[in-house]
Symmetry: D2
Subunit: 347 residues, 4 copies
């Protein structure tokens, strides 16, 4: 009953198999190997973006920070949600990689609204040389609280950015989970929706550690390559990143894995709902924030369930106090485990 | 006949097997898994350094730049060889991670001498607030040209640093290759020789991509962890880095692989020497810089040999002009391939 | 009728006279002149802080950013008001000088409350290696909206910082204006109230451009000197900064000038209040934020009054709409000008 | 007998007078005052560069570091002399302001040769993504050792840069001293010679502290303004910088002052030469590096002469050992003082 994170589950066996397959003989280093070239081409096809520049890195923070640094000057500010990963969970990586840019938090909750974004940009635009200049807008899809922006919502946000001539970055650490929920094409959820640069996640969906970064306009491709190198994120043995990503995109493994995680989440959410849990956010993908009484948490904990308490602590006086659990389903979780969890919940 | 780099060869099968073995069930992320803890402990034992702080990262540039940034203030300068990897091959990563420190090149060749180091520090120490302040000394073992510092040479360099109260970093991307040549213990070639922080390489010696960073004094461990995180170098699925390193250190795989590469290099060097090649640097480990006539390069090239020309170009008028080849042997190169190379050389 | 800023008025004649006086013969550069040493000593006496490290720089942004960079690591965050100068008006200077630290905005208005500060620190403290680490607390006295923290308020804020072992920076660009309002000693409003580093302003109070930076604990004095130099803020002709500051502190010129500005502000505030203006913030020092109807703004504008409209624009349909004026009194403004302004206001 | 530096002498009285004159009434801050606009226009005329962007800052390090940061990406390297001020005397300011760029030292002496520059660029251009990319070339005129590049030498250097599409920065801290020596126009010694950005010094030639930065192509003007602001180098009371520069350029004060300093240097050099001193560098402007015996240094020192010993120390066994003095003449030095110095020298 492991729901702590989708980066805690095992790697998909097909991905490990691809590593073994890639391990024959010699290959030029630093991304000059045939497998890397092939996977870059595959991603361009998948996104219907023949001009796109495509790069592989090993962590989501690297993907986000390098993409933003390429889009953002040090005297600018990035607009994002107050709970964005780039703000809360990267220990100042965007500030570091950009050379000291700021992050401006768009007031509101987990999901940015275009009205709030427009108001925030308007306010930031008033200080001339004294304030930071407006820089990229960064959107997270799936959001940090498990919700999914509709295509309309995405387009509405990016049109605000466009109006101010600001580039748009999409943190797609869980891109696949959102995509299968929206049943749209990768192009629809990226460049056709107004996204300029995409962190296209794989790690949370069954890889060892690979994310792609896409620039739909390849103008700054070389700058990105230099920033990746000086960030220590250019791997000498590039073929082993490429092999993972190639396996991921073969025979729809990425979509199948994301559907599995989402379906598990749906099953879990239904059970929680039936048990009376309160949801702070719509569990649109593979992540649930549900409030249940402390006593129930204790029971689940004693039964071996592993997940993060989002607020409060297990220790506490009031057994009926509602505490929020963050429950994340990875691609490998079985219905049996979910049902076991729900049984304890309802016992 | 592939001698382009030791990062172009295959991963050792035992390492891939370890990945599969590590792939069972769930594990906490970000280095909180049991395998990571185990491999950290193993490295402390191996180095006879029970207090040492040990971290895993995926690239050599990350290991070097993060270690240096932890030892170096932005208003200081790092002392290194003019051909150090940190100077020539990391696209300003040390400058980036340190927040704008300088690198001061110790005049001379590939190998720093303690006299040149002492003179350079003395010269840098004269400018008070106007010049950069003296910071860490960074030594590369095996050097970038394939030579190995003796323990006496190492100790002589670090005693100069110690005299000025400067910390010492060792770039050990090929630590194992040097170690088996010197037939000493890991402690002898690191902290007992005066090294404070070590980049302990694995990638060039049969891993997919793992280097350890060791601080023998753990005082700055937490700072390193924060710098690793904000550099995007903290892996969520830490167990797959740990599995590689664990396999590396099991049953002496790391030493066996290094000995294999060095032995191949000895065989190749002997053949080259017999054929009259000139060596610009002592081929002490698994890397050779040998000058041979252009015509011979052409013959090798036509026969399918792959390696870097270090100066000049294959195209050229004078078939007798001597051009330097950089030839690197990885753990997997066979005697048959070396002999094939030598046969073409001598044909 | 010039109320645009206290940095728009003339320099006090005694300050210019001091420049002429300092202009005799030769003096060693870079702060090694006798006048600089003398003024450093004078400031230590004034603050009853014989150990303090004291430095002169030429701009408030330099004072703040250099002080914060000395107190703050790049992986930390600075706590400040959402309207702090360091956040809104320095074009990311703190982020730049600190090497990429973050600024965390303490929710609320212009003045931080200790409750909001405590809650914000508590929230920031939950993310371990993933989030930025807690760094200095920066307080602005006089605030950006013209209010003055009482000594109790200051001590309450700094005790929250102390509880978390966080250093405290005071942005005292208008230190003198606050001091004369509180009728306390410089020590009371700085180190005795828990301040570790102070930007002690002079420019807004009659100097050409000099601010002192004080570290009450001199431990990081040398680091500050290096950061000042590499920031381009070490003046070769230090005596001309020192001469300004010496004149400022001679015969209470700094207090006299601050009292003049505050008294002018009181007179102006009284007139505005009598005329029915609404005050968004308590006009405790030399700055007023007062809402008056657009038609009145127009009348003042036509009569030659110069000041910033803080919200809205002079052009607009509704003559009765209330728009906020920011009115700042410098040391040189005369009662005649204030009365002229009030006459137009009331006409 | 003060020859320690040209920044140790007094400010020219006409400059102080201009400050007083500028001190009437109110003026908008941050460079929006009429005097600043006027002096920018005056500089454009003087340089026959109607499109140039012109900015004032207060220190030479700020001028250089901000100009270079605007021309240089963090993954690039700046080419300069091994004794350039930006390398030796700015405590890593260029590295800091550029966000971590490198400085590549062109081998040779004080003066760069175009051959050495070309060879250095060629060597740096070989490492693809691994090494830093080629960035601006920075030339110092007058050099750090008191020599002056001829226009031919300048053009030869800039044509190498042009061939590689690299921008050229001129550190003209002593621009006036070089200009009067070459008897050419400001345009000849800047944009007509291939210079893109100029640090145009005033501080060493009689101002309190003002340097102009010129970009002959104004494309990056706005970026410079933002970098100046976030560097803490935008003065609120801009009129007092402008007043200094205006006085400097009125009635040829800048040229008259430079001629006075150079003439003093000529007189001093002639006397030294007659006394048998050896010159390590041609004393083309207002600075001399001359070797004289220790015993003579001691005699000068005892007589009250103040200057820097460039190598060795006054204390020492051998009274005949030749030690190099750095002797700098400022605009205010009198013939009487020089003759006094020479009398002691020859006594």
């Amino acid at each position: 009953m492991f729901f702590a994170s989708d980066n805690s589950g095992p790697v998909h066996p097909q991905v490990l198999a691809a590593l073994s397959e890639a391990n024959a003989g010699y290959a030029m280093g630093y991304g000059d190997d045939p497998l890397t070239l092939q996977v870059q081409e595959r991603i361009r096809e998948l996104f219907e973006a023949p001009q796109a520049a495509v790069y592989l890195v090993a962590t989501g923070t690297a993907a986000n920070a390098l993409a933003l640094a390429t889009l953002c000057q040090p005297f600018q500010t990035v607009f994002c949600s107050p709970v964005a990963h780039i703000h809360e969970d990267e220990c100042n990586a965007p500030e570091f990689f950009s050379g000291g840019a700021k992050l401006t938090l768009v007031p509101g909750g987990d999901k940015m609204t275009s009205a709030a974004l427009a108001a925030t940009i308007a306010k930031e635009n008033t200080r001339g040389v004294h304030g930071p200049q407006c820089g990229p807008v960064s959107i997270t899809q799936v959001t940090e609280r498990g919700s999914v922006y509709s295509l309309d919502e995405l387009r509405s946000l990016t049109s605000v950015a466009r109006k101010h001539d600001l580039p748009v970055h999409l943190d797609g650490a869980r891109f696949a989970n959102a995509l299968v929920r929206l049943s749209c094409s990768p192009a629809d959820m990226s460049w056709r929706a107004g996204v300029d640069a995409l962190s296209f996640g794989g790690t949370k969906n069954g890889l060892l550690g690979v994310e792609a970064v896409l620039f739909f306009d390849p103008d700054r491709a070389w700058e990105f390559e230099l920033r990746r190198k000086r960030g220590g994120h250019l791997f000498s043995k590039g073929r082993y990143l490429a092999a993972q990503m190639a396996a991921y995109l073969t025979d729809d493994l990425w979509l199948i894995s994301a559907r599995a995680a989402n379906a598990a989440c749906d099953r879990l959410a239904a059970g929680l709902r039936a048990a009376g849990a309160e949801f702070a956010h719509a569990p649109d993908a593979n992540m649930i924030f549900a409030a249940i009484p402390r006593a129930v948490h204790q029971r689940l904990h004693d039964a071996g369930a592993v997940y993060h308490l989002w607020d409060g602590a297990l220790d506490g006086d009031d057994p009926q106090e509602m505490l929020t659990a963050r429950l994340v389903c990875d691609w490998s979780i079985s219905n049996a485990r979910i049902d076991q969890f729900l049984n304890v919940l309802n016992s």
